[in-house]
Amino acid sequence: MRYDLLIPSQLMGAMTPDLLLMGGAMVMMLVAAWRTESDDHQRTVGWGSLVVLAATLGAVLWFAFGDATAGQGVIAVDKFRWAADVIFLLAAMGTVALGMDHNTRDGITHAESHVLVLFATSGMMIMAAARDLMILFLGLEMMSIAVYVLAGMNRRSERSAEGALKYFLLGAFATGFLLYGIALVYGATGSTNTTEIGTRIMGYQLHHTAMLLVGVGLLLVGFGFKVAAVPFHMWSPDVYEGAPTPITAFMASAVKAAAFAGFFRVWIDAFSVLDFAWFAPVWWLASITMLVGNVVALAQRNIKRMLAYSSIAHSGYLLVAIETGTHLGAAAFLFYLIAYTLATFGAFAIVATLTRVNEQGLDIADYDGLWTVRPWLATAMAVCMLALLGFPIFGGVGFFAKWYLLQAALSAEHMLIPLAVLLVLTSVVSAGYYLGVVRAMFMKPRAEGAPEIAPTGKMTRLVLGITIAAILGLGVFPGRLARWTRQSVPVPPAAAAATATGQTASR
């Protein structure tokens, strides 16, 4: 079916999954407010949220396996959108499930914690769909505002409030840059539609307009903040440490994936014709991010901070994929995003399980000898660490993610060879901290008088089982996923139009 996005009813049809999720979120909001706060009610709302997310996932999959397309308009109807939506929805379902157990244990009875995840997820879906900077901005803010609240969800915790404040101030600051970038791009091209911007830059030869280039620079700064690329990463370790751990899992997986999806689409749609201008800045951003993220992670003693720096480092790897600017690079980007989301989510889920009440027991030393008391959790953590490292076989899909990424980087331009070398070298550095956790769990003795570990909740066990099975299963059969990511690559319409009229893009 081909949607004509200028007709309101067809536009609504093309947004069915998003509208379903938003409607469901509003219903759940009412349900949450219906009764007084209690643990039972929190769980009820959690189950309701899972049902809403599952229904949305069903709608997304129906679109993904259909052949819906759309003409020009404010949103995209393509495979990339559905692929990104699947990532967000699965991560959101995991977060709600983990949150149910975590809230019970920490005595958090706000049923709204699950509803806010739904609102944040609908913002992400809008971001992944946006083909207009206005829509992108709205999606980004719908996501961010909900996540600011989620970060401060544990009202009794001083750290949670501090993390939320830092996240809020720096997030709003970054939004300012993003918005000014949008304003300048609008000023230079006269449009906020990304496709239109791309065509106008080509058509009117705006490549060297100062206003446009400054605008693109500010957009890069704004997105750099959102994906936590060095030097705009300062907030992320503090926020990840302060937030309740299931929410940290959500931020490190879905929120980051959404920021990258929006970033990637804008860059492909609107600015692929400006690659001469952003090539060098993104090159430096990627290399510094990989270097600083991995080296600073080595020095961390708190596991949440260590994983935060690890996720910064992974932003660097993903920036390498954006830098390639090729079809292969885009496929590798999507594949890496899926692998990274799975592994990071799994790792934070295990941290959430092992954290004692009020965020105690987060030192890596607390993981010493975990194998002797909780062999399954220790094994699951080892799989996640090896997946993040990109270890063959035991790391499952993580290995193929790095492999495809390297392949894409090496088959791109010659300037990417140093970047590929740096990627490999920093991955070797990252073994220092990933394997450090594995060593602590399997080879060190359990400390005398180490506190008893609380039993793992049912939902947590389910989430962990699925995540680990996915990491290992996709590691055995990566071909299907790789094929799917190759088909789900966003096609730059400006470049497509340029080849149609016989011109070639600047690359």
Binding site: M134, F137, L138, E141, I145, Y148, V149, G152, R155, E158, R159, A161, E162, G163, A164, L165, K166, F168, L169, A172, F173, T175, G176, L179, Y180, I182, A183, L184, Y186, G187, G190, S191, T192, P237, D238, E241, G242, Q300, R301, N302, R305
Partner: protein, 97 residues
């Protein structure tokens, strides 16, 4: 007029950025962020004189979002004040590493 408006907007934006980077009171930092957003609004309005209504529509959205952001932001600042009895960012330093 357009050039002057854009220059004023850039100046306001720069004042906002400098304020965020130098001030240490959470409320004032937040006010500076709002200044940045409103500087951008000025740009949009000025540019919409050139390109039509899109810029003005954008301004409405930005104001709505800024209001929502203010509601959440002030709530967070109150939450931290309950714990610390201060909103000075220099005293908010539990998380570091």
């Amino acid at each position: 007029m357009l050039a002057e408006s854009l220059a004023l907007s850039a100046a306001l934006f720069a004042i906002g950025v400098v304020g965020v980077l130098t001030r240490r009171n959470a409320i004032i930092v937040f006010m500076c962020v709002e200044l940045m957003l409103n500087a951008v609004n000025l740009s949009f309005v000025a540019l919409s004189k050139l390109y039509g209504a899109t810029g003005q529509v954008f301004v409405i959205f930005v104001m709505t979002v800024a209001a929502a952001e203010a509601a959440v932001g002030l709530a967070i600042i109150i939450a931290i004040f309950r714990h610390k009895q201060t909103v000075n960012l220099q005293n908010i330093n539990l998380l570091r590493g």
